[in-house]
Subunit: 309 residues, 2 copies
DNA sequence: GACATTCGCTGACTTTAGTCAGAGATATTG
DNA sequence: CAATATCTCTGACTAAAGTCAGCGAATGTC
């Protein structure tokens, strides 16, 4: 692998991206549109697609498609008239409404699915098997990296809904992976527990990684005193793994620690979490003696900050 | 490199393509649109972009953007009113008209160019240098393969405008590459000359490779008698090289020869054309003694058909 | 030179997309 | 229970996109 990582010519990169954008929106965008129309306004077609087989709340549809409330209402009326959709009230809140596809609507959606496959097929058809394989691989790569770029880290309150959501999944993951199982109530370090046992929130910085508004990972920095911080709860959702997100979270937490003037970061980890240990070692964390009584911890790591600033 | 070339699961490939389409049209298409609007209807913006710095015939614009004649006219009127475009008659045919950007229009287009770069930059900005490099490479790969897939081979009359266009460029290429230069008048084999010197067209099958309607390569099969054919004029435009197009042309010509029941294919080539020789050898052509008096030929190749059928 | 054809233009039209204000039903809060 | 907020729907609107028939000028054809 070559050692220089920056492209020698940013203008060439831009040109490549522009060519790509142009080609893809021409070839795929245009085809997509005409394929998906089926003699129906595009807005309605997208709606059928987006409602999906399980139905969807109007709120959700508006958010996802970026539609005006009135406009969406009108589109749904039109689809109702065509007997493709029914709109009913939600059970818990009669103000909210939920759109469902009818039998006919489901059939229509199935057609869209097939057309979408046809489109994919039409891209692959003229290619040699070798090129097909390469195309798929390159598309997967583009997708992976674009999605990676769209993930952003935001500080949130440790007791916010998104933080809670992440922690629940984190704990469920741990319960599966630890040989001894995991019970979040058994040990509470300082801060960042779902219960938050009285530690002031200002002492805990909680980051959530969002992709298109959905949380896909988290990480916390617990400020223990003026010089020492603890890294906790670094977790990445299964569908977001393989993108270096854990490392990104770790870096950001370290940056935050440096901003606060902390000189030492510590963390503990379980023997089952091999990748985590590898990550910490590769980031300059060295194994240190036990510094807490976490029953689930098998290894303790520490890293001095400041020297790398 | 793995030996199996077909993906084990076509449905997974389709799913990958659909995910890609979705992501790209969402992320790039949407951004593109909002970037390119600049408070102007999208149609007008695209038009400014498409007219380009050299101007464009209305015919061409309609084809490229898929616009109705009346609609295009109206869009241009609107741009003329804004002093961005002038529409004048073509020199040779006063019915045809040509749109040109004014000073202001050119400036406007430059802004679009810059915005397009900004968009590219916004995709790269959040990425690590390593991911940037990978993204560019993967985009280039997707582009290369998609374009390759869009190239189609069509039989045309050897004296058609497109065939002539290819041959002119082919001859110009040869003149540059042959040590001894090249004068198409000096030698005329049977068929396929620009002049066509009286050889019945039915004896010559001429293929042109088209990409988006533009010729990007050619190749001919001259049927010499009931059993022997000659491959001639295999050429690929510089901007379409590196996609295996020459091989594709050759394969198609061989298929045509087989359909006609020919048993032997021959061809000659100049010593300067090393890649061509490599191609022919890799396709099973073996060097044979001189069979014609072409003054530019240094090597003669032959391949028996039938055994590979 | 008459005739048909091509090319772009205009007028009249429809459809699609999108916006905004307010009405009406339902839920939440004090 | 009243006030307030939330959610969806309707009516009235605008802008953009697209379609179609026919006109008139320029060109090619017989």
């Amino acid at each position: 692998m070559s050692t220089f990582v920056c492209s020698p010519d940013p203008a060439a990169d831009f040109a490549q991206i522009r060519r790509f954008n142009r080609l893809v929106s021409q070839r795929i965008g245009a085809l997509d549109q005409s394929y998906l129309k089926r003699g129906r306004p595009l807005g309605e077609a997208r709606l059928i697609f987006e409602i999906g087989s399980d139905g969807a709340d109007l709120r959700e549809l508006r958010d996802r498609l970026g539609l005006d409330s009135g406009y969406l209402s009108r589109l749904l009326r039109s689809l109702e008239r065509a007997d493709l959709v029914t709109v009913g009230s939600a059970e818990d809140d009669a103000r909210q409404r939920r759109a469902m596809l009818t039998e006919t609507g489901l059939a229509e959606r199935a057609v869209y699915d097939r057309l979408s496959d046809d489109l994919a097929g039409s891209l692959l058809a003229p290619l040699s098997p070798r090129d097909r394989q390469r195309l798929i691989a390159a598309m997967a790569e583009v997708e992976r990296i674009l999605v990676t770029g769209a993930i952003e880290l935001r500080p949130v309150a440790p007791d916010s809904a998104d933080a809670r959501w992440c922690l629940e999944h984190y704990f469920a993951d741990l319960a599966e992976r630890f040989e001894e199982g995991f019970d979040p109530g058994k040990h509470h370090g300082r801060g960042v527990d779902t219960s938050m046992r009285g530690i002031p929130a200002s002492e805990t910085l909680f980051l959530v990684a969002y992709c298109d508004g959905n949380p896909v990972g988290c990480g916390a920095l617990v400020v223990e005193d003026a010089t020492i911080g603890e890294i906790k709860r670094v977790w990445v959702a299964p569908n977001a793994r393989g993108r270096g997100l854990a490392r990104r979270l770790l870096h950001r937490l370290e940056d935050l620690a440096r901003e606060r003037g902390l000189g030492l970061l510590r963390l503990d980890t379980n023997r089952a979490l091999a990748e985590a240990q590898a990550l910490y070692r590769s980031e300059g964390y060295a194994e240190i003696p036990r510094y807490n009584d976490n029953p689930y911890a098998d290894h303790w790591f520490g890293k001095r900050l400041g020297d790398t600033v």
